[in-house]
């Protein structure tokens, strides 16, 4: 039997506001009630209250407050670096403390893995759409690393003297900003879906965060005004740090999928 619109809305709100076990219990109870009393959505709202009102009455401040705090921290790990990018548009005159990019990654990986390990649910089958989204983000990440490789290569530096560095740089900048926007959207959607359904969606959040931070790292290197690129190996510390960011994020994503 098709679930009623009331039950669909109530399930969504219950999964968002209540701990997973309690949400499952409430949804099961309301499914039983709706099966005995199938009526129009409006009539059900009149007797039961709107789905939001119904769930609100079951919400305990401590449980919901804890989840909201975790959600805000995890969302900030994604949004704060992206906001930094947005705030500097279009000049990029500020120097990004690149080591600071490790902080949101570490916080995002540890907090999301610990929280969803205890407060998340895992179905037997892999959620539909999870693998394509992970592959898309992985492809974006590989593209960013590839672009970093091109930017760091001495051949390109030599070429930039003869080609049109201004327009190429602007195109790369726009491309990287687009990648950042996509990562934020995918990451936020992954976080929300991890709460509403299978906890393995947190893998999308973590991979989105990893690609975002690596992209920001590359952007900050490209806008770097420091004069440390005189030697042949100037790019090595940058590449190492990008590799570290990527490795930490990919390992975190792998753990999230287990």
């Amino acid at each position: 039997m098709e679930p009623s619109p009331y039950l669909i809305r109530l399930s969504r709100i219950a999964r968002w506001r209540l701990p997973p076990k309690e949400a499952a219990d409430v949804i099961s109870d309301y499914s039983e009630i709706m099966a005995i009393d199938p009526r129009l959505y409006e009539d059900q709202c009149k007797d039961y209250g709107t789905p939001k009102q119904a769930v609100k009455q079951l919400t305990t401040f401590a449980d919901y407050g804890r989840w909201m705090a975790v959600f805000l921290v995890l969302a900030a790990c994604l949004a704060a670096p992206a906001a930094w990018l947005l705030l500097q548009f279009p000049h990029f005159q500020f120097e990004l403390p690149r080591e600071a990019l490790f902080l949101p990654l570490l916080l995002g990986v540890i907090l999301s893995l610990v929280w969803f390990r205890y407060e998340g649910e895992r179905s037997r089958e892999l959620p539909i759409g999870l693998v394509p989204q992970l592959l898309l983000l992985l492809a974006l990440g590989v593209c960013v690393m590839f672009l970093a490789g091109i930017c760091f290569s001495p051949a390109l530096l030599e070429l930039s003297g003869t080609a049109s560095p201004g327009s190429a740089g602007f195109a790369v900048h726009l491309l990287l900003c687009g990648v950042c926007a996509l990562c934020v959207l995918a990451g936020m959607a992954g976080l929300v879906r991890a709460r509403l359904g299978d906890r393995r969606w947190v893998g999308v959040y973590l991979l989105g965060l990893t690609v975002l931070l690596n992209t920001l790292f590359l952007l900050s290197v490209l806008h770097n005004m420091a004069l440390d690129i005189a030697g042949d190996t100037w790019w090595v510390p940058y590449a190492q740090r990008m590799g570290l960011l990527a490795a930490a994020g990919v390992i975190g994503t792998g753990v999230a999928l287990c």
Binding site: D29, E32, I33, A35, D37, Y48, G49, L58
Partner: protein, 100 residues
């Protein structure tokens, strides 16, 4: 005594009469208190369960799927007595003030 306590007393009293399934309890209380939404009654019922005043089990229904039945626990009986005492005191106080 708040309205919530009154609803709690009614639920415990209904369960004192025998085990009932959720929908039955919600309908009976909604019929007695039409201005109270059934979700409010459900929230109180869950609260009673959480506090150990009631417990539930899966029971057979005639011709349909198994239903969740609620029953009163010993702690629930003590709580019912407490609420009943409060209710009687409230009634006595109201009568003393001339409210009939």
């Amino acid at each position: 005594m708040l309205k919530k306590d009154l609803l709690e007393l009614c639920l415990l009293q209904l369960l004192e009469g025998g085990d009932r399934y959720g929908y039955e309890l919600l309908r009976q209380l909604h019929a007695a208190f039409p201005d109270t939404q059934e979700s409010t009654v459900y929230a109180i019922l869950r609260g009673l369960c959480r506090q150990g005043h009631t417990e539930h089990y899966r029971g057979e229904s005639s011709g349909g799927p198994a239903r969740k039945y609620y029953r009163l626990t010993c702690a629930g009986q003590v709580r019912r007595e407490e609420l009943l005492t409060q209710w009687r005191m409230l009634c006595a106080a109201l009568v003393q003030m001339g409210v009939k």
